[in-house]
Symmetry: C4
Subunit: 323 residues, 4 copies
């Protein structure tokens, strides 16, 4: 496993990492979570991603219990959480980044995770109803109080990220250092175009999510939705339509030819392709089964096979559709 | 119940809220306070206003005990307190906003309220004998120490509010975000004229008090002071004269015609009229009786009836007298 | 008793206050200290001055024990201490204002005083061997940590005070608000000339010491050093020469004629004369005997007798000798 | 023993000090450490240098236990530690100055040292993979939290030191005040040329290490490596080659003639020569044996013998080889 800096920060994270989205609490119990964390750690993974909203707090609770039992030294691993969606629909607890919500949220997450601090704390989405300055102050306070070490954003626009950076610079507060965008072969515009200037100007790091486009890039939806897949989990019906789109699955089919030629799975190719982007600090992968983790980790070995010729062949396939 | 942002901050508060002024400690005991808080909460109210000076600290103690028994999650509700008048006449404890007073006052209030923090803390009046810079530092420290989330002012001049904002901006301290002015059909100049530039320039929010002009806008003083009214509470003799002024009660009579035509009480009309002002974040209403709370809450439904024509009719009645 | 603002700060202190210099630990035991504090408080005194070096820490311990037994509400009174001389001759503990010394000193003083915070903390002298910036940071940290509320200097030059103010302004740290200079009828130049611009420019407050010029202005040294006076305390031999100077005692004699004409003691006249200076926030007086406190407090009543004519008569006597 | 200011800071440290490098944990047990600390203290030494990496944490543990048993008042002595190398090879624990490492490292060191704070904390080497701004924030936070009093660098370039200073100045953070460079008769360029402007511009202080060039300047390697010397300690094989270089030992021989003429050892001459440099705050000397400490301390008496003529004679010998 290689380690990369989180943007221009000094933090070293494994280029492949493991997220608890969807999987924990819904599909994964505490014992399986411990096993998958241990398997990932064995492969050199040191970053485990989480969010308050995942499984309504259960994801954090499960990861926290698993980490406690694993009893690794705290400095060995990097844990994140994210705030915005909240745990219910009440005012100041739902889709907000205001000071009151963040002030309460961090303590709740630390309690569920059974940790003194998280390494990374993300604003899970932008909040148009809270001034960025209020959010920057609140995130900076979380770091000043030792409850987190670095803060960043997820799915914020380039303009919003730069605004947060400038406010922190002007008021001498802690600056955001990373963003967690969706990024994969079928979803590229934000990372490759919108954020382009931010890498150089403010040293933005990326912890990308959805490397397989919600599973589409495994190719398993080419013939409809199989039993037991994520698209059948209750509450994720919206995924089903996206995953069975004929045009997209056509592209997936052509990409599968490339992975076949390279002697790897399409999932491995898809992950390796993301790692070719030097602005990516780490690729978040799923964690529902230990076997899946082992398969994903092999993507690291595929990166070397992505020669300029192979990259051009891929570009010819996906170039026109990348969102 | 609708929720509004507290000025340009991200905090969401119910457009009608409940204050403990006069009522708690004097007219309301702890059991009634719990009932009225619960009734307000049932109507969607999430903001409960208080002040150190109300009933000499008893108001905070009663609300604190009631909140403890109600045992709502802390993030669910917004509590305020205010400092300036103090609990006795001694130096540094009376009509001051100096660092020593504020440093002690916040701890006293939190103890009486049995809370770790208040959401909002107000400078209850301006203090000409303390530099605004000293007060801004002290309020900012209260927030930095996690004892309050937002701070603001009550009955400060526009110039004083702007001065506080600029000092905080220059020294990178926490800025004031709200003001608590008197505002009603008979008292409009400060909110509508003096503060006009502040809404845009610094995003000032308003938590207005005295929507019924101390009861005058209920119409019940048109024939003198009835038994059991606030104007008969000992220590509020000054109110009696104001409430029985013939000219003002004449206006009240004409406003009552409007409310009759709309099929609501004059109190409901008066509250609804305040809600038409988009700069108002919340209207503080009384809390002495559960029935009164239920009546006041109906004002929300009247807002839609205040068409441009009705607003003009009201303006024609009160326009010339508004202070 | 009148109360004055401490310079431009919002803190209200009694215009006469009581210091523990010389007296506590040497001449005054704990029981007498409690009596004299109580007597001063009865006269309206709310400020009690101290310093780490007074009686090598014993003065703080005695005042702390007395305050504990008196059990006044903490907000009622103002306590100070001062740092520079240290409790022994070792490096970083002696005549320094460096961060290490100040970091340790405040905790030591609070322990001896049995208090959570002191109201005022002074840099007892300037330290030419520590950058003012280091001292400003250290003092500002003491306030940020809630261990003191205001900080100032004692016997610093105008240039040094202004430098400290400017550093705090530039780095957004807590600014010094007061200075404790020697000031009396025979020692006027620093307060009246050197600091002249500071009152307006930075709002400097003064807590003046030695109102009686070490007792010279009681007139009791006109015929040599009486038994039991301060000039006979061991370690204060240097005072004896100063107190028995013939020229100065000549002036004292002429001033005594003025106080005789006003029907007060020379000490009362001397203290009242200081109170005529509007830049003085409080005059520190001795506290060795309850009777002495009662006598000094009467100076407040003399101020009104200091008409322009009397002030000119005094000026004619002391004008040429004022240092 | 003389005391010097640590650069332009107000901290007073003994011009000779004792470091635990190499010796503790490898050659020195806890009982010997206590003896050598006590012997140094008897000679007036008040500064004891340490680092996390020395003997992989054992050096701190031994010094901590010795200090605890000696039970000196905390304000009496100055202790340092240094961070960069880490205690293992894992990411964020090895050759880094990122926030995560530093956040954990300080707590680990304080636990091993059994102290509430260290006086000095150094960035043991520059870290090209962490922005200096991130490190300045992290070091400043350590001081803000009261876990250290002053921070500095070790073997940083002048450019890096100045960058750290400017970032702290701009963002109003705690500035670095000292650097710990290698400095001796055979290694002079960085201290004398590269840092030249920093002494005046930012008041940089120096705590120099390797006064005897790893023992070369004792002259004992002129005839090869003797038994029991540091160059035979396992892991320090690289030293052996350096220490037995013929050209360098030729110079050492000529310097020994000077020390013979002055009636002192070459080691004493070498240490005294460093003390002649006014930019040096303290010379760190070894602490493996009490006898060695006593010998080194005599260097203080030699300084006076280093007349301009002697200094020129030395310059003529080493001038051309100084690195």
């Amino acid at each position: 496993m290689n380690y990369r800096r989180l943007g221009r920060s000094g933090l070293q994270i494994s280029e492949l990492s493991v997220g608890s989205w969807v999987t924990y609490g819904n599909q994964v119990d505490h014992r399986l979570a411990r096993e998958s964390l241990a398997a990932a750690r064995d492969h050199g993974v040191n970053f485990f991603d989480n969010a308050e909203v995942y499984a309504k707090g259960q994801s954090e609770a499960i990861m926290g219990r698993a980490l406690k039992e694993l009893a690794w030294p705290r400095v060995d691993y990097v844990v994140s959480t994210k705030f915005f969606f909240g745990l219910n629909q009440a005012p100041n607890q739902h889709q907000t980044l205001n000071r009151k919500y963040l002030h309460n949220a961090i303590d709740g997450s630390l309690a569920r995770l059974q940790l003194d601090y998280v390494d990374l704390v993300f604003c899970h989405r932008p909040d148009p109803h809270t001034p960025i300055e209020e959010t920057v102050w609140a995130m900076s306070d979380i770091i000043a109080r030792g409850k987190a070490l670095y803060w960043g954003t997820s799915e914020w626009s380039a303009d919003e990220i730069r605004a947060a950076h400038e406010i922190a610079e002007r008021h001498h507060l802690r600056k955001p250092v990373m963003e967690q965008p969706e990024y994969n072969l079928l979803h590229r515009k934000r990372v490759e175009r919108e954020y382009a200037r931010l890498y150089e100007d403010i040293g933005l790091g990326l912890t990308t999510w959805s490397p397989l486009a919600s599973g589409l890039l495994t190719g398993k939806y080419r013939n409809g939705v199989p039993e037991g897949s994520r698209a059948q989990v209750q509450g994720y019906e919206w995924l089903r339509e996206r995953l069975t789109d004929a045009g997209r699955n056509g592209i997936v089919g052509r990409l599968a030819e490339v992975s076949d030629d390279l002697g790897c799975t399409l999932a491995q190719l898809s992950i390796a392709w993301i790692l070719k982007n030097p602005h990516v600090s780490t690729v978040l992968t799923g964690a529902s089964r230990t076997e899946q983790i082992r398969e994903n980790m092999k993507a690291v070995e595929i990166v070397g096979k992505l020669t300029p010729e192979v990259m051009e062949r891929i570009e010819a396939i996906v170039g026109k559709v990348a969102a």
